[in-house]
Symmetry: C3
Subunit: 339 residues, 3 copies
């Protein structure tokens, strides 16, 4: 058993009692053995349909509060590989606004409370996958993960995060699968140096991908993680403990084996864009200081703003392989949950 | 055979001839034996996959002119439980505006006439499920059910209402399943007293749920139905014949075994909101006069406007069980149609 | 083998190498033997589920940049008939704007480049079906088919056009299936006279359907094709070589066996509406000069603007049969691709 058989969040007294053996996938804390999960994922990559009966007569509901392409499709493929039924529901487009606050008189824009929505989903599905984003306005609210927590609390079935306000664990698992796969293909036995670098962007983006990557990498502990960003872009320390924190990109990139590129908005000046410094874009020139580093990005990536064409079209980019591994990450997680 | 083997609406001379044995599910009039349908539903609740081969190589098309969450998901789960293929199509979002009027020169906003759309759907699907709403502007037009009728007339395959302008039969069947299940669990052999009460809301809502509930309950005749609403909110008498009609909520609630809460707009002053009287909200205090009544609502429900938190979070609420029974209602209906 | 085992477009040097034996369905040039494909389609019409194991463990991704009803549903049904998994993704509604230009600094509205999107789709799916429309503003750009070409170039898996900027091959194949079926049912052994006539419309429509119909008919060569349109509406000659081009509708319709009705915007004055002449609408009166011609249209059709009610509701219209044949056209094509 690789996933913890307990809930991600403490249930309130009145929540539906979870059946014994159920669990969730909300953060790295739900995983007991990362490498075993990676092994499972790589086994599925070799033989995608080996567990096609496992999900028979089981249905996963995939609820989107926000748009998604890779996560939606890769999770859908993964679930079908396991023989599960998949029902996709775009809450933001096909449904109505949900209320998450307790005690509200619901005479405004929200038509349904998450208490009812989650409990009813718990009747229709065997597993509930949720995608939600932060507001980037109220830091405490976003970091309380109240949306995801309420689904966990009320659904009464396993909940899988397809990215929440502050974390994106399916992405991070795929990232580790990719790093291990690439590193082993190279026959390396030492720890790789992995550098996560901030890069410029025109929009204020969530911290969920970098938070989660840092959290998983620090927990995994089979790579040395350096995080480099302009002043003011430091991530919340809870996630980065154990990583080397830098502000000089050229220095950080030196001898890197993997460069993980990502933009995020400021945690300190919450949700703000503090820099648009184009010199942080990853180019071939920048990569010269690395150890022929493989370049990763969770996608979508804005070309020639975050990463230059020459890098994405060149031999060091593994962003497509990384996105491909999303299927096997999701399949390993779902397999654990329904297994 | 529990569903009538004939059409809900009289076909026009030019409509495609329905194959022998086909039928529809548009209102209670399509059902010959409610209790037998309830039996089937409760049997599916016990063994959801017992008829998984029944729907093999059969496809249900689910067309939405209006948003839906519970109806869409529960019907989708039901169809898959029967082994049917499901294709969901949000006409309002993924397609284009349909024309329903005859003889129009279509040089405006509508790109396709229902005559073509329905006939083509009849070629692609084995069963066609439709969701549409009333305008709440033109009462005669809404109550003619012309949208649903035209799909029945032209599709040439069985049509299932997933809520129409004036009725919501899948909801009503789930409601009766829920009442019978709860009442029998309590070991009761007498008729329960069921009170459907109007409650306040901020939006003008259709009469389809209360119309349909009244219609099914009066036809079922295994419960005593009381309907209570402010003056001016009386439903069309066609649906309520046999029910006790009241205007005093406290009096009506006395000794109720089930309280069915719902807002609707006026039928008389068509589509209008005549009252927003907060004293009609269902609270624990209100329920004291009942016989420990179970509280029902079709959902979505606006908390602390229609029903108080204390009720929805307390032991008398069965709204989640009721929503869960939507699956078995839909499964029993689809099973009858394709069986 | 009915489809050519080569690519529709010449790949760039850097594109992913296509695996041997893969192919695409972008235009009639991808087909080696139209009649063999029609035979396969008509065989599926008789026995839809004869190849249900062929698509086992294969997934088709259906990506829509633009709305679609018939194409989406018929292709979905076809894929399921072959046992394939289907994942539908409305890029325009569920995703984000894609960038198709090379070398752009992506600091505007586009979040992802087609290079990444297509390559990643190539990892998730076995077949990629794409729907896109022309801008009708830049003729050279539209006729370069750069959107479709880039998906072909980067996806690395077979690509099926569900209508592109200038062509709609699945429609044309269904059209030829319909003509052959109808003509043979009539026991005819001579070549039918097929007249494609322009008809008025309120919107500027693409040339993809008429281009493609002309291209397929001229290649098929088992019917005599006449194309009639007002001055200025002539299609690009590449597609119409071999057809008789007319400007006098009454003359063209004389002795027609099939009348294929369609509006399109001007190719010469690109994307413009040059005429709204109501006398081009197809009526019973117009059909008198024909040889009891069958009337076809790809749908959606605006009644009493493009074709009169009397025709669509009368015995000469075969538009619903034609739409129904979309399933068998798609099934024959998918079967060839995965077979």
């Amino acid at each position: 058993m690789v996933l913890k058989k307990e809930q991600s969040f403490k249930p309130l007294a009145f929540s539906i009692k979870l059946k014994k053996g159920m669990n969730h996938f909300i953060s790295v804390h739900d995983v007991t053995d990362i490498n075993q999960l990676v092994d499972q994922a790589l086994a599925y990559k070799q033989q995608p349909f080996q567990d096609k009966v496992l999900g028979m007569n089981k249905t996963i509901g995939m609820l989107f509060m926000n748009p998604s392409m890779r996560t939606r499709i890769s999770t859908q493929v993964a679930a079908r590989n396991l023989g599960m039924e998949v029902i996709v529901f775009n809450v933001d487009k096909e449904g109505w606004q949900l209320e998450f606050a307790d005690g509200t008189v619901m005479n405004g824009g929200s038509s349904e409370h998450v208490k009812e929505a989650a409990r009813v989903m718990g009747r229709y599905f065997d597993v509930l996958a949720i995608r939600t984003f932060p507001s980037l306005k109220n830091r405490d609210e976003d970091y309380s993960e109240s949306y995801m927590q309420k689904f966990v609390q009320y659904a009464g079935i396993p909940v899988v995060s397809m990215e929440s306000a502050t974390l994106h664990p399916l992405q991070s698992l795929a990232d580790i699968i990719t790093i291990r796969e690439q590193w082993q293909q190279g026959g390396k036995t030492t720890k790789p140096k992995v550098v996560m670098t901030w890069a410029p962007h025109v929009k204020a983006l969530p911290q969920s991908v970098p938070n989660s990557f840092a959290q998983w990498m620090c927990r995994w502990n089979e790579a040395d993680l350096t995080i480099v960003q302009p002043e003011g872009y430091e991530l919340k320390e809870d996630y980065t403990a154990g990583a080397c924190i830098e502000h000089d990109q050229d220095k950080a990139l030196r001898d890197a084996d993997f460069v993980y590129v990502k933009n995020w908005s400021s945690y300190r000046d919450y949700g703000k864009i503090l820099s648009t410094d184009a010199s942080w874009m990853i180019t071939d020139e920048k990569l010269k200081a690395t150890n022929h580093a493989k370049v990763m990005h969770c996608l979508p990536v804005r070309r020639n703003l975050v990463i230059a064409d020459e890098v994405l079209d060149g031999p060091q980019s593994i962003v497509v392989e990384e996105a491909g591994n999303r299927v096997w990450a999701a399949q390993a997680v779902l397999s654990e949950i329904i297994g």
